[in-house]
């Protein structure tokens, strides 16, 4: 359930784009969302109050000054940027067992009631489960629900993007029946199939990855998103490393691999 920050009536998100992560392998979606919120300096407008996520609290992950560092943040928060017609839902904790389905239902009914134009889901999938063809090509894929209008499909083709391949449901037995297989993608598949059946415009952007330091993956996924949606105005063609540098990493991305080492070690 959406609860606004100041207790006021729900803000008007009609025709806005909802950008959100799937809690998936390497947390790439969540990291990329962090980059978007932090780079655009988006303002928090509310919370997605739910019993489906593990509770967590901490101080402002996007702190820039000492004053705004003391703002409490919780497991699911909504940020908005009306000039760009963009709403971002950040999820900061894993799902509670058996609650995925309930979460998807609540989320999609919120999407419907707010009349969002479309939902963009940032996700990832296990790199080790790629097939031969996928191994030889780029690690980025997209998926569009049938409700997504033709111009978006055309644009993606123009950008030379690759749609996620369907794989045989029963390889070797029946190669005709093909399904989406997104291992490690968390709720991606469920959310996508539900959106398809409910007529919601959903765009899934995903990257094949392995767990480890996933910051580079997150930067690549954020660039992928930007190529299409152009959330950050600064555009530079060509070198991808130069492109990545325009993203502002949030202050909370420090100590990702634990505390300092005891000096006695050396």
């Amino acid at each position: 359930m959406f609860v606004s920050c100041d207790g006021s009536a729900r803000p008007d998100f009609k025709d806005f784009t909802l950008l959100m992560p799937a809690v998936s392998v390497g947390n790439i979606g969540q990291l990329a969302i962090d980059l978007v919120i932090s780079t655009l300096r988006m303002t928090k407008v509310g919370y997605f109050y739910t019993d489906c996520l593990v509770p967590m609290v901490g101080n402002n992950p996007y702190a820039t000054t000492e004053e705004n560092a003391t703002e409490l943040c919780i497991n699911a928060e909504v940020y908005a940027m009306p000039p760009k017609e963009l709403v971002v839902l950040q999820i900061r904790s894993p799902f509670i067992k058996n609650k995925y389905r309930h979460f998807c239902e609540t989320l999609l009914s919120w999407v419907k009631s707010c009349r969002f134009a479309k939902v963009v889901l940032l996700s990832s999938s296990h790199a080790y489960q790629r097939n031969d063809h996928q191994l030889r090509t780029t690690s980025l894929r997209y998926l569009l629900s049938p409700a997504v209008p033709k111009p978006v499909q055309d644009l993606m083709q123009r950008l030379n993007w690759r749609e996620l391949e369907r794989v045989a449901a029963f390889p070797g037995v029946n190669d005709d029946e093909k399904v989406f297989h997104i291992p490690g993608g968390g709720i991606t598949k469920l959310l996508f199939t539900e959106s398809c059946s409910k007529g919601i415009q959903m765009v899934v952007l995903l990257k094949f990855c392995s767990e480890g330091d996933n910051i580079p993956d997150a930067l690549v996924l954020a660039d992928y998103l930007n190529e299409w949606l152009q959330v950050t105005t600064y555009q530079q063609s060509g070198c991808s490393s130069a492109q990545s540098s325009k993203w502002k990493m949030p202050s909370s991305w420090k100590l990702l691999f634990g505390s300092g080492l005891p000096p006695a070690l050396f």
Partner: protein, 288 residues
Amino acid sequence: MATFFGEVVAAPSRAGVDEDDEDEALAREEAPEDREIRLELEKKREVHILWNTAFSATIESSSDNPFPCSKFILGVGQNAAAFLSSFVLNSGDWEVVGSIKLWNEWSRTSNTTSVLPTDSFCLFYRLIPDPTVLLCQCTCFVAEDQQFQWLEKVFGCMQKTDLQVAVLSTSSITDYKTLESTLTISSPFLKVLKTKEFKDNICCSLLEQPNIVRDLPAAVLSYCQVWQIPAVLYQCYTDIIKLDMVTIETFKPVLSSKILKSLVKDISRNRETLVKLMTTTEINNIYT
């Protein structure tokens, strides 16, 4: 991450759904048998709040309205509960008004309100001279799927206007992230997190990013943040998990906070109670 079958396992993967089987299960419709088992389990894991007959009568007399509550103090874990026992409950007239009944892989609370300090329990006390002050000691494990229920049940029966919440909790120093090694920083120490509405002074430094707090204290603080209730969490980082005198005394600065100041009058006897509490809970080995 706790599972339903008693064992606690560290999440092996940061993938949203741990196993491929679950991926499949997600997309598939649930079989009737699975559904039945799930519902049975859910029923067994329901959280119940049991008020004493006298107290429930007062709640009901206020015609199923939530009862007025000005302060809610919650101690999570043995050390925080012991601190509240020896410093707060001990220095005023309090009565037990209720308890939480829950079942999970780690904790089974009993129906009785007479408990030993070593039991796992969740008890509610009310200050006799000012019945709007409620205190809760929670030493039982509240599982992830039960924390939301706990919140809804407990806060559901309180009036939330003019409510102030304080939470005391401990966690392991290994959970604390800092540029230094945790071996070189002196422990135990106290850190604080507060909701937007909380405007009073705090008696120690704020918990720095990227540190986070989980479980019941986090659930309570999230609830208060979302519903705009002033709340503060005092989190003690310690290297001793069991009941420990030094850890308990780390909470002492909290006594001067606005919410507790008026409740603590006489702390001369606290040391005595604390020692008594420690000796009764000490687990003797076979040689003593």
